[in-house]
């Protein structure tokens, strides 16, 4: 491996870069130097500020303070993506940014078509595309195929080819292997190595420890938006790197230790052999009344899918959901809601709020049976109903009749919680309940969740933010690649432990690539994994 940055001048550097979103500080005073011919890894938990950093590098968002220098040239504050690209910064995104319905050649030349008097020069287009593909080892690819029909790994290479064609001096990889199988992932790492050898500066962002150790020369750790440390990769082992990522003091944001869940230990919500589509094996889980269970796992590990399946929003191949011992009919959100299961989805704009409707109606929409009278709307009764549901939530609003879209993120989330409270839900499934919510409202929401549990609800929380789960939950269940791999009581769960359990390892990737073809093959691999470990 080449010497991490020693001697050569950095091709790109950030000095004291900060960024806030409203009251939320996403980055504060971050430094970063990228040297030609090195692979620089960026490590940090979900929410540490990695995405924001990448967005600042590519000009997708503007920094509030600090200097950004590329090859000695200072970039202005209001940097645009086009300027960043022209300066030589290219990104390969997690979600590929190719146009799926167009051909490979068109995609590669988009934005810079070789043309003559406005007509595309097809011969030159093919030659240019061919040259780009050769750089990434795809010389044989049929240029006239549409990108949508290519496998993900090939599409990713096409994307890399496109980035390189713009004379990128710095290439940023944002979780490039999430959608790839183990072999494809390795091939990609080789490609990244080849780029380094050509003298490109690579910034590599991944959750996968073993990839960082395999490819990285240098690593920068971010935590809570601040720069923690930048050192040669060789100075770390897996444990010390996790410790650097996590090492935080937990604030009093969380409601603190609660009483043991009351009741006789009877399960309120029970999943018996429930197998959502795409899960390699059935899932068993039970949550008692008054208990808060956290589902921890990386993005795409199947946490949200599990919640949606329990609620009947996603199809299930086998198994049952029981509420207080009674089976809940499968595959109907309406029936699940009637039985008293509530779901707060991850994206409240896409699948939660009814933006044109009033605050009042957004609360009452799931519980019109009790809010209305024989199918008719009854104003005073409705008002009492929603006031009762919103009681104690510290909801801030102007008028019950205002559209819900006039509220801030935190208050919108409270409206959604009130919606399920109005229904008298017995089970609440919360998917990233504090996403896009500022810190104060966060504390409110934690308190509300704890109160609801104290009132006897069974609560399941999915969150990418580990401190939140550890601060809030009685138990943390770890999900890795669509299976439950551990069930830790709060007392035993630490961030290090959970993160280690949630991170996919090489062996597991072979065992369960997200797009693995057959269940039988997966199971065979499972056996191997067990034997080898």
């Amino acid at each position: 491996m080449s010497d991490p940055g020693g001697g050569t001048a950095p091709v790109l550097s950030l000095r004291g870069v900060s960024k806030s979103y409203g009251p939320v500080r996403a980055l504060s005073g971050v430094h970063l130097d990228l040297h030609p011919g090195t692979v620089h890894c960026l490590a940090g938990e979900n929410g540490a500020g990695k995405s924001t950093l990448i967005k600042i590098l590519t000009g997708a968002v503007q920094r509030d303070a600090g200097d950004y220098v590329i090859e000695g040239r200072g970039m202005r504050r209001g940097l645009t993506p086009a300027e960043a690209r022209a300066a030589g910064v290219g990104v390969v995104y997690q979600e590929l940014s190719l146009l799926n319905d167009l051909t490979v050649a068109d995609n590669l030349c988009m934005g810079a078509f070789p043309s003559r008097a406005g007509f595309v020069d097809r011969r030159r287009r093919s030659a240019a595309a061919r040259a780009m593909l050769e750089r990434v080892g795809l010389a044989d690819l049929d240029l006239s195929r549409t990108v949508g029909e290519l496998p993900t790994a090939t599409r990713q290479l096409v994307e890399i080819a496109r980035v390189l064609s713009r004379d990128a001096k710095v290439v940023i990889f944002d979780e490039p292997t999430t959608a790839l199988s183990a072999e494809e992932g390795e091939a990609l790492l080789e490609r990244v190595g080849a780029l380094r050898d050509e003298g490109v500066a690579v910034l590599y962002v991944t959750h996968r420890m073993e990839e960082m150790f395999a490819i990285g020369d240098t690593v920068t750790v971010l935590r809570d938006g601040a720069h923690v440390v930048t050192r040669p990769m060789a100075d770390f082992d897996e444990d010390s790197l996790i410790a650097a990522m996590v090492g935080r003091t937990i604030t009093n944001l969380y409601p603190g230790p609660r009483e043991e869940p009351r009741g006789d230990g009877q399960a309120r919500l029970e999943l018996r052999g429930l197998r959502p589509v795409g899960f390699p094996e059935p899932v068993d889980l039970s949550v008692r009344a008054g208990e808060i269970v956290g589902l921890a796992g990386l993005l795409g590990s199947g946490r949200s899918e599990l919640l949606r399946a329990v609620f009947g929003a996603d199809p299930v191949t086998e198994g049952r959901v029981l509420l207080d011992g009674r089976p809940v009919p499968r595959g109907s959100t309406r029936k699940a809601a009637r039985r008293g299961i509530g779901l707060l989805t991850e994206d409240r704009k896409e699948s939660g709020l009814l933006p044109e409707l009033s605050i009042e109606e957004n609360i009452a929409i799931a519980s019109w049976r009790t809010a209305g009278v024989r199918g008719l709307v009854h104003g005073p009764r409705l008002r009492r109903h929603v006031e009762q549901a919103a009681d104690g939530l510290r909801l801030r609003f102007g008028d019950w009749g205002d559209p819900v879209s006039s509220l801030s993120g935190g208050n919108q989330q409270k409206v959604l919680i009130a919606r399920w409270r109005a229904l008298g839900a017995k089970v609440l499934l919360l998917d990233e309940p504090t996403k896009g919510v500022d810190v104060g409202a966060k504390a409110d929401i934690y308190r509300i969740i704890a109160d609801l549990a104290a009132a006897g609800l069974a609560i399941v929380v999915v969150s990418s933010y580990l401190p939140e789960l550890l601060g809030l939950c009685d138990r943390v269940v770890v999900v890795r690649e669509r299976r439950l791999v551990a069930d830790l009581p709060a007392a035993e769960a630490t961030e290090e432990k959970v993160l280690a359990l949630a991170s996919p390892r090489g062996a597991d990737r072979v065992a369960a690539p997200p797009s693995a073809p057959s269940a039988a093959a997966r199971q065979r691999h499972d056996v191997k994994t067990v034997e080898s470990s």
Partner: protein, 379 residues
């Protein structure tokens, strides 16, 4: 404890918008339009202008005439509104008008002399309901785009109409049939009565029943509605079926008014109905609009026609005027929408920060790019 606090209106989105000095005329017009008041204001203005500039406008005969002319458009507009509120569109209402009219005409024609007008009417309504049901099922269950589904039905219904009649007008029809539209109750034409009754019924349905509120919920965000247990498909199917039934009623009344079954009747009416909804404040993206608004929209268009005739304005110019009116209504709504999120952004963080109080102290470092993403998308 009652912690539900009512923030002072000032500093919130709408209050802020109102305080701004550069609030231009167009935006205020937009706010009016959006509440469905734009139509009413325009209606009053037009009525006032016409009663000043002509002698005949405010005469009983003319108003009666106006009611008869407008009623069929108004019923269609209210029908169309039901579908538009679900964020759909029904292009087949015009063809259903033709089909139901011809079906009713054929029924009474074939059974001349019998007291079968009622049966003919029910048959016509059933045909319209069936067309709407098919639309609804294709949209809700098969998940085809409403535009395409109803475009297909538009062709099918018109073709069926022409087939049934062989392209010829069906006449003469018995007097009993013409009485449907031609009769009066308490000195006011049946047509006018029906227009008012339908508007009130649909208005009450939308405003006062749970099912009606579901219609708005589906139009606002179908996925959100599904995830709260709203029977989205059933709501969509009822909306299309009701729309088809009301379109058939309009067709029946048109045939009765004309006194014969014309196979090309109702051509282009779907666009008139959509125009009326839009002028009356409905949003083609769903969840915005009222039955009263649709009625007002139809009246505005009707009044323009009527007034234009009274004043002797070239009808070609009137068409242009109607077009401009639609554009103005939609542009006003669009401008308001552009403004909406902006004022939300300025209003919201302040309210939230105030609500949190302890927040910043407790939070410490809370760099969070999930939040960042959320906030970023808003701006």
């Amino acid at each position: 404890m009652t912690d539900v606090t009512t923030a002072p209106r000032q500093g919130r989105g709408r209050g802020a918008a109102r305080r701004e000095p550069d609030d231009s005329e167009i935006l205020r017009l937009g706010q009016l339009f959006n509440k469905g008041f734009g139509g009413i204001g325009m209606l009053l203005l037009l009525g006032f202008a016409l009663s000043l500039s002509t002698d005949v406008f405010l005469t009983g005969t003319n108003l009666d005439n106006l009611g008869r002319q407008v009623s069929i458009y108004a019923i269609l507009a209210v029908a169309q509104l039901l579908v538009i509120l679900t964020a759909g569109i029904d292009l087949s209402v015009g063809s259903v008008v033709g089909l139901s009219g011809v079906v009713a005409a054929k029924a009474v024609f074939a059974t001349t002399g019998g007291a079968h007008v009622l049966w003919a009417a029910l048959l016509a309504l059933a045909v319209g309901a069936l067309a709407g049901l098919v639309n609804g099922v294709l949209v809700a269950a098969v998940r085809l785009p409403p535009f395409i589904v109803t475009l297909g039905m538009m062709g099918i219904a018109r073709g069926a109409t022409l087939l049934l009649t062989g392209g010829r007008t069906i006449q003469p029809l018995p007097d009993g049939f013409s009485e449907l539209a031609g009769g009066t109750v308490l000195g006011i034409a049946n047509l006018t009565w029906l227009m008012l009754i339908i508007t009130v019924l649909v208005g009450v349905f939308l405003r006062r029943t749970v099912w009606g509120r579901y219609v708005y919920a589906v139009g606002s965000n179908a996925e959100s509605a599904r995830l709260t247990g709203v029977p989205v498909r059933a709501v969509q199917i009822t909306a299309y079926t009701l729309c088809g039934t009301l379109a058939a009623l309009a067709g029946l009344l048109l045939a009765s008014r004309l006194g014969n079954g014309v196979p090309t009747a109702g051509t282009g009416y779907e666009l008139q109905a959509i125009a009326a909804c839009v002028i009356g404040g409905a949003s083609l993206f769903g969840a915005r609009g009222t039955a009263l608004g649709a009625l007002v929209g139809a009246l505005v268009v009707g009044l323009l026609d009527n007034g234009g005739t009274l004043l002797g304005i070239d009808p070609f110019w009137l068409q242009i005027l109607t077009g401009v009116l639609i554009l103005a209504a939609v542009a006003a709504e669009h401008l308001r929408n552009l403004r909406g999120p902006r004022s939300r952004d300025t209003g919201a963080p302040a309210a939230d920060a105030a609500a949190s109080g302890t927040g910043d102290a407790a939070g410490g470092p809370a760099g969070d790019d999930r939040e960042a993403a959320g906030t970023g998308r808003q701006t």
